[in-house]
C-alpha cells in the first residue's frame, strides 16, 4: 500500500480533481496509468472520486435551483408588457445588387402577446424537404408553401382568418374581405395584415432576418408601438430578429417565383442559402470556414438545376470552394473580405 496517497491527498490534488472533472486529458491518462500500475490504490481512488462527484453535484444542483428562481422571476416580470424595441427605418444600404431588394422590418419581441389567439384551435400543415405544397384555405385563399415550411391556420377559418407561419417561406394569394382581416404571424411576432393582396413571407428560425415582399395589392405590417407600415406591390421589408432593425425597400416580384420553381436569393446570408439548398435538394451544407455563414450572397436558380451547377456559379463569383461527397457539401472561402 502506498501510504502517502490517501483520500485527503487525492481530493486536494490539483491533477486528480482535474482528472475527475475531465478538464485535463493528460491528467485522466496519468491517473488511469497510475491505478493500473498500483491496483491497491483502487479503494482510495474510488472513495476520492465519489466525494468529488458529490461535491460537484452539490454545486450543480444549487446553481440549477438558483437559476430556476431567476427564471421564474423573469417570467413574472415579463408576463406584463415586454421591453419596447426601438425601431428605426432607413433606406437599405446593404443591398449591393441592383435588381431586387428587400425591405425591412422590425421585430417585436413582445407584441405577440397582445395578439396571440391562444384559445383558437389550429390545423397544422407541413411541406417536407423537396416538397412544394399548394393549399386552398377554407375561405378560398391559396397558399404556396416552400420546402421545409410549417404553418398553422385557425380551424374555424371563416371566423378567424389567422395564419401562424412557424417556419420557412410561404406565398399567399388572399381573397380580401374588408370586414374579416386576413393576418399572418411569424414566430418572431411580426404580423402581416392583408389589404387585398398577394405576398410572400419568409421566417426561418435559424436565420436572423425575416422578410415580407408584396407582389400585388398591399399589406399592413404591425409591430410594437409603431403604427402599421403599409407596403405596396413591389415593396418589401426585412426585420432583424435580434437588433429590431427595420428596413424597407424594393421587392423584386420575381423573388416570389419560387412557387414556379425559380429561386431568387437577393442579398441573403450564406446561412439562408444553406437552408434553401438543404430544403430544395436534401443535401447537407457544412461551412468549413465558419465566418462564411454570415457573408451575403445574391443568386438565382431553377429547381431543375443540379446543385453542383449552382455551386459552380457561386465558386466563380464569390471565390469559394466546395467538395461534395454523397449528400454532404463542404464549403470554404471568405467572400466577406472581397
Amino acid at each position: 500500500m502506498q501510504s502517502h496517497i490517501t483520500v485527503a491527498y487525492l481530493v486536494t490534488d490539483e491533477s486528480f480533481v482535474a482528472s475527475c472533472l475531465q478538464q485535463d486529458p493528460k491528467a485522466v491518462i496519468y491517473w488511469q496509468q497510475k491505478v493500473a500500475a498500483n491496483p491497491d490504490l483502487q479503494p482510495v481512488i474510488a472513495e476520492a472520486t465519489q466525494l468529488i462527484a458529490a461535491m460537484y453535484h452539490h454545486g450543480l444542483n444549487k446553481e440549477i435551483a438558483a437559476g430556476q428562481q431567476t427564471l421564474l422571476r423573469m417570467m413574472q416580470e415579463t408576463a406584463s408588457p415586454l421591453p419596447a424595441i426601438t425601431t428605426h427605418r432607413r433606406l437599405s444600404i446593404w443591398q449591393r445588387v441592383a435588381a431586387a431588394v428587400i425591405l425591412a422590418l422590425c421585430t417585436g419581441a413582445a407584441f405577440f402577446w397582445f395578439t396571440s389567439p391562444r384559445e383558437i384551435q389550429y390545423t397544422t400543415v407541413h411541406a417536407g424537404t423537396r416538397q412544394l405544397k399548394n393549399i386552398t384555405l377554407p375561405d378560398q385563399s391559396t397558399v404556396w408553401m416552400n420546402a421545409g415550411c410549417t404553418l398553422r391556420y385557425a380551424t374555424d377559418f371563416t371566423a378567424h382568418r389567422t395564419i401562424i407561419l412557424e417556419e420557412g417561406e410561404a406565398f399567399f394569394e388572399v381573397i380580401h374581405q374588408a370586414e374579416k382581416p386576413f393576418t399572418v404571424q411569424t414566430s418572431n411576432g411580426m404580423r402581416i395584415e392583408d389589404l387585398g393582396t398577394a405576398f410572400s413571407v419568409k421566417s426561418y428560425q435559424a436565420l436572423e432576418e425575416e422578410s415580407v415582399g408584396v407582389v400585388s395589392g398591399k399589406v399592413a405590417i404591425h409591430s410594437t408601438a409603431e403604427k402599421p407600415t403599409i407596403l405596396n406591390a413591389g415593396e418589401g421589408i426585412v426585420a432583424n430578429r435580434q437588433t429590431g432593425r427595420l428596413q424597407v425597400g424594393r421587392y423584386a416580384t420575381n423573388a416570389a417565383d419560387w412557387v414556379k420553381g425559380h429561386i431568387v436569393l437577393n442579398d441573403v446570408s450564406f446561412r439562408e442559402l444553406q437552408l434553401v439548398l438543404q430544403n430544395v435538394y436534401d443535401v447537407q451544407i457544412v461551412f468549413d470556414t465558419p465566418s462564411l455563414e454570415n457573408c451575403r450572397i445574391t443568386t438565382a436558380f431553377y429547381k431543375t438545376n443540379q446543385v453542383s451547377e449552382i455551386l459552380d456559379d457561386l465558386k466563380i463569383v464569390y471565390s469559394i470552394a466546395y467538395t461534395k461527397k454523397e449528400n454532404v457539401i463542404h464549403l470554404t472561402g471568405n467572400p466577406c473580405q472581397q
Binding site: 485527503a8 480533481v17 491517473w31 483502487q42 461535491m55 454545486g59 450543480l60 415579463t78 389550429y122 417556419e167
Partner: protein
C-alpha cells in the same frame, strides 16, 4: 444523470405547465452549460443566456408546437443568443462549429461522457449536501469553485485574494469535516470502496 422523458417535458412547456417547464430546465441545464462554456469562458454570460433562452421558450410557447426536434432547436436558439451576448460584451469567444457541422449527438455526448455525471452518489449526496450546508460561507464558496467550477488553486487565489496556501488549507479542513460526517453516518472508506470504480472504465 437524470433520465426524464424530454418529449413529455416539452409538451408540458407547450401547455404552459410551469412545473414541467422548470424540470425541463433542470434536465437541459448541464448540457447547455457545458456547451456554453466551450463558446465563452464567461460563466455569468452563459448562465444568463440559458435563462434568456428559456424565458424566450416560455413566452413563445404558443408558436413552438411545430418544433420537431426540441433538443436541436434548443441548442440552436441558445447558441445564437450566447454568441450575440458574447459579442456585445467583447468577451473572448471560442467558436465551436455550428450544430449542422458538429451534430447534436456530439454535443450531447461531450456532456454525457463527463465522468462525474455517471458516478453514483445517491447514497452519500444527502449527507454531503447537509454537511456542506453546515460549513462556513467562505468554505462553501471554495468548495464550489474547486469541485463544481473546477478552478485551479491559482485561479481561486486570483478571484478571492486569498493565498493558495490558505485556500488549500481551508479546503483540506472542509474535506476532513465532510468525511467525518460520512463516517458518522456509517459510510466508512471500506464501504465506499466497494463501489464500482468508474475511473477504470
Amino acid at each position: 444523470m437524470e433520465h426524464t422523458d424530454i418529449g413529455e417535458l416539452w409538451q408540458g412547456l407547450l401547455k404552459g405547465e410551469e412545473a414541467l417547464f422548470l424540470q425541463l430546465y433542470k434536465v437541459w441545464y448541464p448540457g447547455l452549460l457545458t456547451y456554453g462554456l466551450r463558446i465563452t469562458e464567461d460563466r455569468e454570460l452563459v448562465k444568463d443566456a440559458i435563462n434568456q433562452t428559456f424565458l424566450y421558450f416560455w413566452q413563445k410557447r404558443a408558436v413552438l408546437t411545430g418544433v420537431e426536434q426540441p433538443a436541436a432547436y434548443m441548442y440552436t436558439a441558445f447558441r445564437r443568443r450566447l454568441i450575440t451576448a458574447a459579442n456585445n460584451s467583447n468577451g473572448k469567444i471560442f467558436l465551436p462549429g455550428d450544430l449542422v457541422e458538429e451534430g447534436l449527438d456530439s454535443i450531447e455526448e461531450s456532456h454525457e461522457t463527463v465522468l462525474i455525471h455517471h458516478v453514483n452518489v445517491a447514497n452519500i449526496q444527502r449527507i454531503i449536501d447537509r454537511a456542506i450546508g453546515q460549513l462556513s460561507g467562505r468554505k462553501q464558496e471554495l468548495i464550489r469553485m474547486k469541485y463544481y467550477e473546477g478552478l485551479s488553486y491559482r485561479q481561486i487565489a486570483n478571484k478571492t485574494k486569498l493565498t493558495e496556501r490558505t485556500i488549500y488549507n481551508k479546503i483540506h479542513e472542509a474535506i476532513k469535516t465532510l468525511r467525518a460526517n460520512l463516517a458518522a453516518d456509517g459510510h466508512s472508506g471500506d464501504m465506499i470502496a466497494t463501489i464500482q470504480l468508474l475511473l477504470l472504465l
